[in-house]
C-alpha cells in the first residue's frame, strides 16, 4: 500500500484528520485510520503529522531525471498579443529575477511572434538577461501547435530549470501541452513562488477549492519545473535602463510552424475593452442593481475611476451584463486594487472570484449580506443614492 499509518508513532492527535481535503481519515481506537476508497494520495496529511507517523511511498518511482543538474536558468514565456507584450510578462520577469538571484542563475524570456524588435529593450530593462526570439510572419498570432513545437524545441535545447507563464487563456493552453510533451510537472495558477533554500527547488503555492485552501506543490524529480502564474499577483521590477541583455535569434524548419487549427479572425469586443482581468479597479453589480438600465451608474463610476465593470452571476443570468464581465466561480477570478460590490449579496461562488482583491467595498441594503464579511469597508444603504454621490465626489478630486 503506498500510504500507511505507522501505528507505533501515531498518537491519535487528529491533526491529519483536519487537513485531509477528502475526508479519508478517521480516528479509530485512538489511531488514525485511512479510508482508501476516499484517499487520493494527495499527501496533505504527511507534513501535518508532527510524529512522522504517515508514510507515503512511491512504490515504483519513475525516477529522477538523470541529467537534472544540467537544467539551469529561469525562463519566462513572454506573452504577446497583436505584437504587444502583455503586462503579465513584466510581472513574471520581476518574479523570475528574484528566483534567479536565489539560484545564482540567469533570467531568459522566450518571445514568439513577428516584428517584435521594438520591445526587446523594455524586456531587458525589466529583468531579462537573455531573450530567445523566434520570429516569422506565420507566428504573429498565438496558435497552440506551432507555439508548443517551438517552446518544446527551445526547452530541449537549452534546458531551463524553471519555466513560468501567465495563467491566461493563451498561457494555460500552451504550457499544458508543453509540459506533457517534455514530461514536466506543471502547477496551475500559482499565487506564490519561492525557492527552497536547501533543496534549491521551486515551491509553488496556489489556491484550490475556490480559494478555500492553499497548496504548496513541488516537482522535485522533473525538469523544467513549470508554473502558470496568476495575473496581477507578482510585481514587475522597476525598469533599469542600464541593464544589458543578449538577444538569441532562433529559426526552425517551417514544418514546426504548421498548425492544424486555423485562426480565421480575432474579434475585439468593444464592451469588454477595459477587461476585468487587467483592471486595477472594478465596479461590480449584482441582483440588487434591479435592472439593465441601472448598470449605467456603475459604468459612470468605473469611467471616472478608470476601472472596469464587473458583474455577479445573477446579473449575467438576468441578461443585464455579458458573460465576459462575470466575476466568480463560473466566471473570472479577479484581484484588483479596489473591488466595489454594489447590490451583490456575496454568495460563496462570487466571493471565491474576488476575495483576493486588496480593498473590497460593499454597498448593500441588507445588513446581513455575506459580502460584508469580506468587505474592507461596508456601507448599508441604497446603491441608487450612494453611487451618484460617489461618482460626483471622485470626479471632483480626480480633476485636481
Amino acid at each position: 500500500m503506498p500510504i500507511q499509518v505507522i501505528l507505533e508513532k501515531c498518537t491519535g492527535c487528529s491533526l491529519c484528520v483536519k487537513v485531509c481535503p477528502f475526508d479519508a481519515i478517521r480516528i479509530m481506537d485512538k489511531k488514525a485510520s485511512l479510508d482508501l476508497n476516499k484517499c487520493t494520495l494527495c499527501g496533505a496529511c504527511v507534513p501535518s503529522c508532527k510524529f512522522k507517523a504517515i508514510l507515503l511511498e512511491k512504490t515504483q518511482s519513475k525516477g529522477v531525471l538523470p541529467n537534472i543538474k544540467d537544467y539551469k536558468g529561469v525562463w519566462v514565456f513572454i506573452e504577446q498579443k497583436n505584437g504587444k507584450v502583455q503586462s503579465v510578462a513584466y510581472e513574471l520577469l520581476g518574479k523570475a529575477h528574484e528566483l534567479a538571484a536565489k539560484l545564482d542563475t540567469q533570467v531568459s524570456g522566450v518571445l514568439i511572434g513577428d516584428k517584435l524588435d521594438d520591445q526587446l529593450d523594455e524586456l531587458i530593462w525589466h529583468g531579462a538577461d537573455n531573450i530567445y526570439l523566434v520570429e516569422a510572419p506565420e507566428l504573429a498570432n498565438f496558435q497552440d501547435e506551432p507555439y508548443t513545437n517551438i517552446l518544446v524545441k527551445l526547452i530541449n535545447k537549452y534546458k531551463p530549470e524553471i519555466v513560468l507563464c501567465g495563467a491566461t487563456s493563451i498561457g494555460r493552453s500552451l504550457v499544458s501541452r508543453v509540459a506533457i510533451t517534455v514530461d514536466a510537472g506543471l502547477t496551475a495558477d500559482c499565487t506564490g513562488l519561492d525557492i527552497d533554500p536547501q533543496k534549491k527547488i521551486l515551491l509553488q503555492t496556489r489556491p484550490a477549492f475556490g480559494g478555500n485552501i492553499m497548496a504548496t506543490i513541488i516537482s522535485p524529480n522533473h525538469r523544467p519545473q513549470m508554473s502558470t502564474v496568476r495575473h496581477k499577483v507578482m510585481q514587475p521590477m522597476s525598469p533599469d535602463k542600464h541593464r544589458k541583455g543578449k538577444i538569441i535569434k532562433e529559426t526552425f524548419e517551417s514544418s514546426l510552424y504548421a498548425s492544424r487549427t486555423k485562426l480565421l479572425d480575432i474579434v475585439e469586443e468593444v464592451e469588454s475593452l477595459v477587461n476585468i482581468a487587467e483592471a486595477d479597479i472594478i465596479v461590480s453589480g449584482g441582483r440588487g442593481m434591479g435592472g439593465l438600465e441601472n448598470f449605467k451608474l456603475l459604468e459612470e463610476l468605473a469611467h471616472v475611476l478608470g476601472g472596469a465593470v464587473g458583474s455577479s452571476r445573477a446579473a449575467v443570468d438576468s441578461g443585464w451584463m455579458p458573460y465576459s464581465h462575470q466575476v466568480g466561480q463560473t466566471g473570472r477570478t479577479v484581484a484588483p486594487k479596489i473591488y466595489i460590490a454594489c447590490g451583490i449579496s456575496g454568495q460563496i461562488q462570487h466571493l471565491v472570484g474576488m476575495q483576493s482583491s486588496k480593498i473590497i467595498i460593499a454597498i448593500n441594503k441588507d445588513p446581513d449580506a455575506p459580502i460584508f464579511k469580506v468587505a474592507t469597508y461596508g456601507i448599508v444603504g441604497d446603491v441608487f443614492q450612494i453611487l451618484p454621490v460617489l461618482t460626483k465626489k471622485f470626479k471632483e478630486i480626480l480633476r485636481k
Binding site: K62, T216, N221, S272, S324, Q326, L390
Partner: protein
C-alpha cells in the same frame, strides 16, 4: 458523429467552508456533483448529437462513487458511460490523469470530438483537457464559447479570450474545452432518468487499459503536494454609517490614495 465527454465529480464548492475556530475545512454534508463546467460540455455534446446524429459517450476517472456522475450525464442525454477506476490510478496529478484518460479514450475507440469543461471547480487547473489532446496528438481549441459550424470533418468555433474572441477552424478529430457561455444546460428528462437507472456503466481498470505503470498514479505524477493550509480568512472591516452624502465622503477619503 462520435462524441466523448470527459467529466469529473467534484465536491460542491459552495458547501466547502472553513470552520473559523479550528481553521479547517467543514466537509460534513458536502455533496458530490458534476463539475459545473462539465455540464456545459455534456449539454453541447447532446445538442451536437441531436443535430448530426451519432453517439455521446461520457467518461470519468475517480473512485467507485463517481459512477453517479456518469448516470447523471446519461439522464441528461448521454448514451453510455465509462468509469476509469483503479487504486493504481490514485494520486494522479494532471500529467498522469490526462495520460490515463487518453488511454481510456484509445480503448473506447473511434471519436470525432472530445469535449471537456474549461476546468474543474476543485482543482481549477484547466490542464487535463489540453493534456488529453496532447497525449492523443490531436488539435485542441480551449475556452470555446460557440460552435459556429460543424460538418463531418471540419468545424468552426469561437474561442473566448480576455479581450473578445477568436474564430478558429479545426479539422476533426479535435478536443474542445468549453465555457459557460456556450449554452444553457437542460434539466434531466423523465425518460433520461429511467435510462440512467438501468444504463450499463463500463468499468476500465489498469488491467483493461494496460498503461505504462511508470506513467500512472502517484509515480507517474511529476508534481507533489508538500503542504496544504487554509489562507488567512478575510474578516469584515469598517462599517461606514450616515446619510448617502456622508458615507460617500468618508469612503472617498479612505480610498483616495489608491485611485489616481
Amino acid at each position: 458523429m462520435n462524441i466523448i465527454v470527459c467529466i469529473k465529480q467534484v465536491p460542491e464548492t459552495t458547501e466547502v467552508r472553513i470552520n473559523p475556530e479550528t481553521n479547517t475545512l467543514i466537509r460534513e454534508g458536502v455533496k458530490a456533483i458534476i463539475n459545473p463546467f462539465d455540464m456545459y460540455a455534456i449539454e453541447e455534446s447532446v445538442r451536437l448529437k441531436e443535430k448530426l446524429g451519432g453517439k455521446v459517450t461520457v467518461l470519468t476517472m475517480g473512485p467507485p462513487q463517481a459512477e453517479a456522475a456518469l448516470r447523471e450525464a446519461i439522464s441528461l442525454g448521454a448514451d453510455d458511460g465509462f468509469l476509469v477506476c483503479d487504486r493504481a490510478f490514485a494520486g494522479s496529478d494532471t500529467w498522469a490523469t490526462s495520460y490515463t484518460l487518453a488511454g481510456a479514450i484509445k480503448k473506447i475507440g473511434v471519436f470525432d470530438i472530445i469535449l471537456c469543461g474549461k476546468q474543474a471547480s476543485d482543482g481549477d487547473t484547466a490542464q487535463v483537457g489540453p493534456g488529453i489532446s496532447t497525449h492523443l496528438n490531436i488539435p485542441q481549441v480551449t475556452y470555446v464559447k460557440k460552435i459556429e459550424e460543424v460538418s463531418a470533418n471540419i468545424m468552426k468555433v469561437e474561442r473566448m479570450m480576455e479581450e473578445g474572441f477568436e474564430v478558429i477552424e479545426t479539422p476533426l478529430p479535435v478536443l474542445l474545452t468549453v465555457v459557460k457561455e456556450i449554452n444553457e444546460p437542460r434539466l434531466p428528462s423523465l425518460k433520461g432518468m429511467m435510462k440512467a437507472k438501468s444504463a450499463k456503466i463500463t468499468l476500465l481498470t489498469q488491467k483493461e487499459l494496460n498503461l505504462d505503470p511508470q506513467k500512472i498514479g502517484l509515480c507517474g505524477s511529476p508534481t507533489q503536494v508538500v503542504k496544504i493550509f487554509t489562507p488567512p480568512q478575510r474578516t469584515g472591516g469598517v462599517m461606514l454609517k450616515g446619510e448617502p452624502g456622508e458615507v460617500a465622503a468618508q469612503l472617498v477619503d479612505l480610498i483616495k490614495n489608491e485611485v489616481n
